[in-house]
């Protein structure tokens, strides 16, 4: 059973799907938070992700020039701070003027920001692909030997390992923030009913700032994890992630952060598993159409149940 089916399925389809799902989940948290709290679809979210992976690359270069050999996760710490500042800056100068305007204005503004941020990154770092680490990632030897002794060999590269662990840690932190802190409770209150939250004395502007900080941090993590997973950085990577992230947010229900996490995992797994030869020899869906899977799930959801799996909002 393990030899004929499990080994290939788990190692080459399930674990990569899970890793991709974690990245989508982190990105979708920010999308669903801004959609729920500020009530607009933020198109520039993918670009924050992309920018933070470029920034991480830049910080690694700076550390290396100082003689410190830095892991991408170390470079990600200053990069995520910069990503949060960027998100706050964009909100202050490009989204805040439209707070009381029809929401579609802010959607157009975010659509424009998408291009502005991307061309800025292209001006600074150029159009070519960059990379953190070159070469093929070898599976973690310890896990391989340990699981092989139980006839259950798992091949998990270190990069996948750190992505999975990192996502779980961020999720736990996020859960604590939402359920036990004043800011998190305020965020849920504004998301449920902004007017009621306002009259109960919640400072909505502060909550919005907190939303951008949380969303920006998760986006930065997602961007760095994505760059670690695919091992290259390019300026269109954010745009490529945008659709699956929206799909995850809609699948989980708008305004439901943990729904977005579930949605992200489902979409990531669905994309990878769609290439598995379920029937016969060839992949069920040709790998070229992999990125169409997310879109089909999203459209199906919009037809059947626009509120998503976890009773999200529908505007």
């Amino acid at each position: 059973m393990w030899e004929s089916f499990g080994f290939e399925f788990i190692n080459f389809y399930f674990i990569p799907g899970l890793v991709l799902g974690c990245i989508y989940a982190l990105g979708a948290i920010g999308i669903t938070l801004t959609f729920g709290i500020l009530r607009f679809a933020n198109f520039s979210h993918g670009e924050i992700m992309m920018t933070s992976s470029y920034l991480t690359w830049e910080f690694i270069m700076i550390f290396t020039s100082l003689g410190i050999l830095a892991h991408p996760l170390i470079g990600a710490i200053p990069a995520s701070i910069c990503a949060i500042l960027l998100a706050l800056f964009v909100d202050r100068f490009f989204y805040k003027p439209f707070r009381n305007a029809p929401t579609i204005m802010i959607v157009i503004a975010s659509f424009g920001m998408m291009l502005i941020i991307r061309s800025m990154v292209q001006v600074i770092w150029g159009p070519n692909q960059l990379t953190f680490v070159k070469g093929i990632a070898k599976p973690n030897a310890y896990i391989r030997d340990l699981t092989a002794s139980f006839d259950f060999m798992l091949l998990i590269p270190n990069k996948h390992f750190s992505i999975l662990i990192g996502t779980v840690l961020i999720m736990l932190l996020f859960n604590y923030l939402l359920s036990s802190t004043k800011i998190g409770k305020g965020m849920r209150a504004v998301s449920d009913n902004p007017d009621l939250a306002k009259v109960s004395g919640i400072d909505v502007e502060n909550i919005i700032k907190a939303t951008w900080i949380v969303g920006g941090f998760c986006a930065a993590a997602a961007g760095v994890f994505l760059a670690m997973d695919t091992q290259f950085i390019e300026s269109t990577m954010g745009f490529r992630m945008l659709l699956p992230m929206f799909a995850a947010a809609i699948l989980g229900g708008i305004g439901r952060p943990f729904g977005a996490v579930a949605g992200g995992l489902i979409i990531g797994l669905a994309e990878e598993l769609s290439a598995y030869p379920w029937f016969g020899d060839g992949p069920v869906i040709s790998p070229g159409y992999k990125s169409g899977v997310a879109f089909s799930i999203m459209v199906l959801m919009l037809i059947i149940k626009p509120s998503g799996l976890f009773k999200g909002k529908v505007f």
């Binding site: 959607v107 920001m113 061309s119 159009p127």
Partner: protein, 355 residues
Amino acid sequence: MDIILGYFLYGMSLLTVGGIYALLALGLNVQWGFAGLFNAGIAGFAAIGAYTYAILTTAESKFHYGGLELPLLVGDVMAMVLAGFIAGVIGLICIRLRADYLAIATIGIAEIIKLVLKNESDITNGPRGINKIPRTWEHFSEERFYSSFPLNVINSSDSWQSFFESIARWWWQPFFAGTIILIVLFTYFLLEKLRTSPWGRMMTAIRENEMAAAAAGKDVTRRRIEAFILGALIMGLAGAFLGQHLRLIEPTQTFDPSKMTFLVWVMLIAGGSGNNKGAILGAFLIWFVWSSSELVTNGMIEILASIFDSVDISILKNRAGFIRMLFIGLLLQIILQRYPKGILPEKRPAVSGKI
């Protein structure tokens, strides 16, 4: 003399592409300006138009499906029909939801269309694209056209050949640009008629207050789908002409969302959404700004290079296109914040023509 001719031909090509963008902006104006539908997948509809036209009209090729060699008009019409059909399908799914969802869905559909064009290489030749798309007017100087109806009735193939060899190579350029301008004007008059018609006023009512319009017995969903399809028809036609102008189309670079979708949005918002004249004005204005900014940025880089001769300007030259994109993006933000109504704000039609 050669210089004047050069400027003339440059002007013609500016007019051609400006006209194509004007068509796209008019199509978007029907969707966004009239009906308030956010279409973020303009590139997708243009791609459908261009590829439909290309596959139906190109000569046989061993690289892609085709060789149908249908008349060019059939190609133009089918480009519109197919783009409209796809718009109808999307409309049925997403139009009941708020504008954001439609924006996400249209971005998605544009990406899916590109994916299909890239992967179905038996039909579309994949990433290498379709070449030698026949251009209106210029196609007459190709043998397969002058040896067939209608030109073969007037004269024999040999005399046509010698005739086309005797005239200047660029003879078709003014005709091609003129045809596009005529189509823009025709579309404009059609849309103006539509805007002041009961249908147009109903669209405005639905856009401004959906509930009230529905309460007054208007079929909101149906009207919105109609507007979405009408806009997509115009975009499909624009795509067909873009294919003709470029003669070589491929899925990624030609239909880059920043140059197709985003630029058209800037045009419409700058010109004034809801105003057909504004859409055309915005399209030409932003297109001229966009093309002349190439000269400006190149000039600025030259000046920089002459001031600091130690600086390596090749990096800047590579990235000049991104700087232009950055400026266009900032321009959009400024217009959105300072002049949200655009250069020519929308004028509401009077209640009746004869007050």
